[in-house]
């Protein structure tokens, strides 16, 4: 597992589809490569703009933080994990709705995340409809 460092330059205008109306930006933060591969495509099929980051730090250092309408966030990551990122965004005053995704079934953490203001909690593997519902909720809440 190598850490990826890429400079994420945020641009709302996605090349896929080239749709003129503005798409809401959904950021995916997960250190799992398969998720970063598959999820953004699905999100684009949903009609969102999607960007993937391999770590919380990468996301924070990008300029997509302000424009993200929803954050799909993995819980378990090396260095800063999902909950830490949630706290960090809160302390920065960024009110970004978060949907957690994780393979780990831990009720306490689930509850803690929800208490901290997460929109939803999805367990991998999740169906596409589940993720779509969560996203809609998140985006409309914003």
């Amino acid at each position: 597992m190598d850490t990826l460092h890429g400079v994420a330059h945020c641009s709302v205008m996605e090349f896929s589809g080239g749709v003129a109306p503005e798409r809401a930006l959904v950021s995916v933060v997960d250190d799992d490569e398969s998720v970063r591969e598959s999820l953004p495509d699905l999100l684009r099929e949903f009609g969102f703009a999607a960007r993937a980051f391999s770590s919380a730090e990468e996301f924070l250092s990008s300029d997509c933080v302000g424009q993200t309408r929803c954050l799909i966030l993995d819980l378990v990551m090396p260095a800063m994990n999902g909950l830490d990122l949630q706290q960090e965004l809160k302390s920065r005053g960024k009110k970004i709705p978060i949907t957690f995704i994780t393979a780990q079934k831990d009720e306490d953490i689930h509850q803690q995340a929800l208490n901290e203001g997460a929109v939803d909690f999805l367990y991998k593997p999740f169906s596409d409809t589940a993720s779509l519902d969560a996203l809609n909720v998140a985006v409309s809440a914003n």
């Binding site: 398969s34 598959s38 699905l42 090396p78 780990q104 991998k124 593997p125």
Partner: protein, 681 residues
Amino acid sequence: MNSTSESGPRQIIETSGGTHSSRRKQSAGESVHLRRFNIGPRLSLCFLVIVVLMLAGYGLLLWQFHLVRIRDARSSAVGQELIAVSQFQTDFFRLTARLDELAKYDDLEGLKKEAQPLSDVLQRDVNHIRKVISRLPPDLHSDRTILPTIEAIRSTLPSQLERVTALAEAADWEAVRLRLANEKKPLETEVSALVRAVEQQVSTELAAQLMETTRSQQRILIIVPSTALLALAVAAFLGLVVMRSITRPLGRLIAGSKALAQGDFSHRVPMEGNDELAMLGEVFNDMIVRLQGLYRDVRRSEAFLAEGQNLARIGNFSWLVATDEIKWSEQLYRIFEFEPGVPVSLDLIGSRVHPEDLHLLNNMVEKARHAADKYEYEHRLLMPDGSIKHLHLIAHANRDREGRLEYIGAVQDMTQRRVSEQALERARSELAKVARVTSLGVLTASIAHEINQPLSGIITNASTCLRMLSADPPNIDGARETARRTIRDGNRTADVIARLRTLYSKKDTQPELMDLNEATRETISLSVTDLQRNRVILRHELADDLPPVNADRVQLQQVILNLLRNALDAMSTVEDRPREMLIRTERSDGDRVRVSVKDSGVGFTTQGADKLFEAFYTTKNDGMGIGLSISRSIIEAHHGHLWATPNDGPGATFSFAIPCEPQRLADPQTHSPTNPATGSA
């Protein structure tokens, strides 16, 4: 604890445990002064006092004698005086009488012839008197008239005689007679008076002398007996005192020695003074204290020994071969379960020895008959209740004081240790099995997790594919891509399952030529989720030129997995620094391959270092701690070794190295960690 004496004012110091209070009965006075001297001077002083007293008595006596002698001398002097004067008187009267007579007969011839000699006689007498008087003590010269009178007589006499003679020659006999008569009377009176005076003196002196003598007699009668009595009394007293001053302390010393002989170490000999006996007492007390200490030490040593024997279940024995006299320590009685004190014989011993081991007993007796230097046996006892004890016996030969052969030995009851060893072996094999099962459990969780990842990718990709194909127009390229990813993830899942099957289906060691890097990567992937969950940043540096090794893949992966999990656990409490793990493979020492797992966890201390690899040792409160010991066994079975070193910074690095030359792997049955350990009991 000893009585001490000081050079200055003496002090009696009460001793502890002293039962003798007779010391109090002594009057403080006499002992004080006497005790300052040693015995020699003390006795000498005694004698000196007696001698001085006697000399004083003699002195008094002599004095009395001296007084009497003086008196005597005086009397005799006065007596002499009297005699001389009387003689004078006699001679004078003779002279006058003779002259009268001569005159009566008108004897001129006779007169001339006798007058002078008679006068000479008188002269002589006067000289004599003068001499005697000169010898008188001064105080008797009281009567000064004597000498002058005599002198007068003496001086006039010759002239008188001349005149008388002249008259006689003139034949004037009447005148002669007349003259004689006239001269005679006053002279006679004077002479008589003189004599009387001297007689008076004499009688005075005699009376005085008598009185003096009587007095002296009385004094002597008093002095002698009283001096004798005094001397006797003092001698007796001093003798008694001095004797007591010696016999009392001696008595106390004797009492002390007796007490000591009877084992009373608390007794002390009280002594005062600083003479030889006091020193002896002090030395004696010192000796008692020393003995008491020694005795206490000996008792304590005995008690320790007995305790030690008890704890270690070791008993001692001695066996005098010639008489078959056997002595046992208490612990040995307990081991054999006989009443302590029961006389021990070879038959008694044989009654307890396990029937199958009796031949060893006979063997021992044989050896003893041949005066073997030493012997050692392990045998069993069969107790009355049927239980079996394992004994280990060692003895060596000794010669007692009379030169007879004697064996001194020790017997240890090893039953518990044997039993424990067997239990331990069973437990180890059980736990080795359990360890696999447990790690299996943990692995299962991470495996499930592992499979979830690609599965979730499959579902997402498939969903995306469907949507892409349903779009208007359908996104064929996108769909193709998602389908590809789906297949890939499906294969990945199948891989994981296949790997796990191989990992846990194998029972026996199957050495194969394998790539350690690949095995490491597989193991890492199995643990990835665990590492993620614990926020561990894992780096790996796998050498490119790593040669293949001939090893059991499953076992080595187990070892790497164990090291990974240990590193993980070591960092589970770390909060103040990043949790970093580094897995490295490399060539080492030319013909070996090394794998190391470095963590930034809590590390270990040098004391912990030795225990890390012990079976059952663990610092985790939910772990079983056998992983490292088994891992080491696996690596050692591959002719390698496993070790741990603390890092320069926080944490530790666990490494193992195995040779990469193809070697015949040791048979798992004899080298697996579940077999009983060889080695001395």
